[in-house]
Subunit: 261 residues, 2 copies
DNA sequence: CGCAAGTTTGACGCTGCTCAATCACTGTGG
DNA sequence: CCACAGTGATTGAGCAGCGTCAAACTTGCG
């Protein structure tokens, strides 16, 4: 087992992410590495699964961006999550009869399709991985709550700022942010609008303002965070809900729970 | 084991709710019944747990209403869930070091505080209960997505209509809606506002409009749905995400998964 | 080079917010 | 039994944030 803080040397995004939740042994890493073997390329713009489908497998994103979304009858759309390398699309969603939302690709992507049975088997064999997956689910849920807060209570500029802070932190966990706090952002303004509950026109004006105020720079599908501190202050962003920084090692958790009270 | 569709006769809201997810045996019902033994009364307005606390237990609501919420620095508040009888407050939340939100009581309530260890034990002994709890978590998450869609994309009247439809369905599952589609709603307009991302003033005007249009009636903390069909149509509500109607029995699910493809 | 997709701009106005006052209800103490 | 206070509901006036519509512009790409 590699001690916490000394991650298993890998560029596998899943191992990188889960390794932050629980320390992973060599065997566990190998199993995860093996999972990633049967990857397939999918082109941008296609859907991995759409509302109404029977979910039979879980998708693991290795490269590229996916997003979770839902349409209303009148054409309005709400984006409910972005899935980046290392993210699993709802580990337990196969319990549902039908998908209640769709998952689409924002860029060309490398994706692993994992049959439900295989996930169950993996969790049986490696309880620590199961625990890490559970962590991941909890973080997804906390993120969803944060998005609700964002859309429900904040102003346009705050919403966008908060989103950018979150993405920056999440992407840096999987090594996709460079030293200049710059990263690939394969989103159109329409997608940003449907994420934050705004219109494209207003997103456009908000982005312009952010550029004028030296908060960000955008070009060629890359976003550069010029002033993370100020973005975080403006939007009230704190990264605790993402649980990226040293979550409790199993040991610590167990001792906290052992005296049942 | 009682066959599906012929529920174990009880007025225990937890059994009532879980029994809809999976068929429960007598032993399982007894275990759940026993859980509910150590209940305590809590007065309205108090918090069960607040942001920053270390979660060590799970709360089960037996009577009354609770709500999950989060404050911003400037005093704005977003309500992120309502918890009604039979609801558990985040079964796995004890994995987190600190609560990232608070849970408060909207009415006098009867609540069971279940130490994390006891929950784990229950899940060990009764896999079917574990499965039902997992279902519950998935439904919570689906509900959160629906709320995000609501707040992000719909107009004021639609938001309120959708919320009322959801509450009506959820409350009727635990037997809290009478024949006239009327139920106790211990919410102030301020709370409705913080749920839907609106102001109290606008909630007030929206409710007036709904009353004038014969959609609802409100008095003495009770809400009567006068025209559920139209409310649902206006807001685009469909109850599928709540998974109240005949979710797959274990058998069906297992056969669907067995050929791993 | 020319199309398609995405971005930007302007004019206009609706939805929903702010502020601030008044009203209604309920429980309290004298 | 009533004055009083506190909480929540209601109202009005004014306006700001953001949406709508429609057109022009820019960029990527075969």
């Amino acid at each position: 087992m590699t001690p916490a803080g000394e991650p298993y040397p890998t560029d596998n995004p899943l191992i990188r992410k889960l390794g932050r939740f629980v320390p992973l042994s060599g065997a566990e890493c190998a199993a995860l590495e093996q999972l990633s073997a049967n990857s397939r390329k999918h082109p941008a713009g296609t859907d991995l699964i759409v509302e109404g489908d029977k979910p039979k497998a879980v998708f693991l994103i290795l490269k590229g961006w996916a997003y979770r979304y839902k349409h209303l009858a009148d054409g309005r759309r709400q984006i409910m999550a972005y899935l980046i390398p290392g993210d699993l699309c709802d580990i337990q969603i196969f319990l549902f009869e039908k998908m209640d939302h769709s998952i689409g690709l924002l860029s060309d992507a490398v994706v692993v399709k994992i049959p439900a049975a295989e996930i169950l088997d993996l969790m049986d064999r490696f309880p620590r991985i199961e625990r890490a997956l559970l962590w991941g689910t909890l973080v997804d849920e906390a993120t969803l709550r944060e998005w609700l807060l964002n859309v429900g209570q904040r102003f346009a500029l705050q919403r966008v700022a908060h989103l950018f802070c979150e993405l920056c932190v999440r992407l840096s966990v999987v090594g996709l942010v460079d030293d200049a706090e710059s990263f690939s952002l394969p989103l159109t303004q329409a997608e940003l609008a449907d994420t934050t509950g705004m219109t494209t026109v207003h997103i456009n004006r908000t982005l312009q303002r952010m550029r004028k105020e030296q908060l960000i720079a955008m070009s060629h599908g890359r976003l550069t965070i010029l002033d993370f501190e100020r973005l975080a202050e403006i939007s009230g962003f704190t990264q605790t809900y993402l649980h990226t920084d040293g979550p409790p090692i199993e040991q610590r958790l167990r001792s906290r729970l052992s005296p049942p009270m």
